[in-house]
Symmetry: C2
């Protein structure tokens, strides 16, 4: 890995020895940073920034200038795939994602195309190539996608949801139609992530933001099954290295054993899990990523540092831990607190390696 | 228990043999019933209905006229305690609960009184006495309260919340002040539930709706510790019988072992847990209540019946299971589906006893 100046993150995902625990932050390029807000304002709307490779590259690199992070993550949105399917993604000021063309009938689902990333989403591999060039081996770059189930929830609900009434009604009343949609999304995600890897993504994360709203059996049937198909369909060797795959199901703490046998390299944990117990459950099958409650970033640095120490001690000695928050950093957080968090991980973790 | 014509529910909570699995439904007296909507309109606003013992009694009994339920639950709201503390609870049309007098400072917390149910909330024991008279031993009556943590979230956030920013900031930055509030709530809940038991509640459930937003250590410190204090402080013998205590932490599936050693009689499960695995984890320490996804009530009766069969088989043979949904029934559900659910539990469960 001579081209990478800092390969802690990739090594930890493959459960190889490291000198200190690597750390990155979900949504590290985002609204809590004043330089992001300035660049976002310049771009106009959020999707214009995502679709502009130069802008996405700039924003991806911003947090690396401030913090001693061990990975960069592509600046993009999980809903680029439904957008590329023709649904017309947009964001109302202060609200969640919405679609201009909602899915309402079986025919709407049957008519959906499978995404060809090279032609339908060229701005994503373009941005990745640009970021890799700018990173110049400083840290690895993470690509990502939403999980099929998570993408489907937004597509069927038409945006964010509280009780997921529409998609659950479809899943339980018409599982065959649900499967048609999930299979199209699965093929699209495989193409999307393989294209990201070919363009230079050195690890990929699948965000299953809404898998945790399902029962155990429904999670297996409607979410995990398709994520396992994606893992099996990825070209996880690129540039002479393994490209680790991270599966993150928010609220999925009850299913770690099942997630750990999908072939993924690592599992992302939300903050409700005790990471030491999680390690005991998954054994040496996978690495673990997480899992401080993002809300702790609102507390003084001393509290943040103490919590970092508790999580490091809970995971214990040895390789296989990538530190992160249990969910994305929120817009109200003072960047100084993120700095305290990142530095505490590096400083305190040396004793565990 | 000669005065009770149907004691399946109480027997199952005490893990005693039953002829069929008992079933009740969280929010069984509620907006999905047209007769409830009519009575609610007559009452004016929601709180007026809660505060009128005759109205609360009528509404409590409505679902028993339609469905073969094994328990009644007091019609009330979990936020009666903060209301009685002087916060001025109200409900805006179509929105969640709100308070006229929010808690904003440490002094606001220090000034909060501990609730004396007999003088501050007389309408609750009055309603219980009336309901018991009207039930006339048909099925047992469940009393309930919100957990201290859950009450505190509404009091500090000023209503419903998405990320619980205010209360988590207080919990992590000022745990001593947080403890003052949680201790006052704990003493209030003990008085509240003991008064309900003295008035005739034959089982009590503590709703910890928001314990699941905490990390494992924070859940122990800010929620479970106080629920354990409540369990220890309850007079669980009344009318010559044991009064079982059910703890329900939504999203608490990771902590079943810890919940099971609080002294409670039963744990309520949300729908994300596999009830068979949960039974294996808690052993014979407690009974389990749950746990069908309420969204399945939107599917055809055949799907509901199949899911009931799966959950019964997952729990397996023997005593200790009270069937329920994993959360409250939602206002859009057709009462016919609830009827199919309740009947399926009774019909299919006979083979497991």
């Amino acid at each position: 890995m001579s081209d990478l100046k800092n390969d802690r993150f990739l090594r930890a995902l493959l459960r190889q020895p490291v000198d200190a625990t690597p750390v990155w932050v979900m949504r590290q390029a985002g609204r809590y940073l004043p330089e992001y807000r300035a660049r976002r304002e310049q771009a106009g709307d959020f999707m214009s920034l995502c679709q502009n490779p130069q802008g996405a590259c700039e924003v991806t690199l911003q947090p690396l200038e401030r913090f001693d992070l061990d990975a960069a993550i592509l600046f993009s949105d999980i809903l680029t795939i439904p957008d590329a399917m023709g649904m017309g993604l947009y964001f109302d000021q202060g609200e969640g994602p919405k679609f201009r063309k909602a899915i309402e009938t079986a025919k709407d689902i049957e008519d959906l195309p499978i995404v060809n990333t090279a032609s339908d989403l060229p701005y994503v591999p373009d941005a990745i190539r640009l970021i890799r060039r700018e990173l110049n081996g400083r840290v690895p770059l993470i690509g990502f996608s939403g999980s099929p189930w998570t993408l489907a929830t937004y597509m069927i609900e038409g945006g964010s949801s509280k009780d997921f009434a529409k998609i659950k009604t479809m899943a339980y009343s018409n599982p065959d139609l649900m499967a048609v949609l999930l299979e199209k999304l699965t093929l699209s995600v495989i193409d999307y992530l393989n294209t990201q890897i070919a363009a230079g993504a050195q690890a990929v994360q699948i965000f299953d933001t809404w898998g945790g709203v399902l029962s155990t059996s429904a999670y297996q049937e409607f979410s995990l099954k398709y994520m396992a198909q994606i893992v099996a369909g990825l070209n996880t060797h690129s540039e002479g290295r393994e490209v680790p795959v991270i599966l993150f199901t928010k609220g999925g703490g009850g299913w770690l054993e099942a997630i750990s046998v999908t072939g993924c390299h690592a599992i992302g944990l939300d903050w409700t899990q005790d990471i030491g117990q999680a390690r005991g459950r998954v054994g040496d099958r996978v690495a673990l990523q997480g899992n401080m409650d993002p809300a702790i970033l609102r507390a003084p640095a001393s509290v943040i540092e103490a919590e970092v120490g508790v999580i490091l001690a809970s995971y214990g000695k040895g390789a296989g831990h990538v530190f992160n928050l249990g969910h994305g950093v929120t817009p109200d957080i003072d960047p100084e607190r993120v700095s305290a968090f990142v530095d505490a991980v590096h400083n305190y973790s040396v004793n565990f390696h």
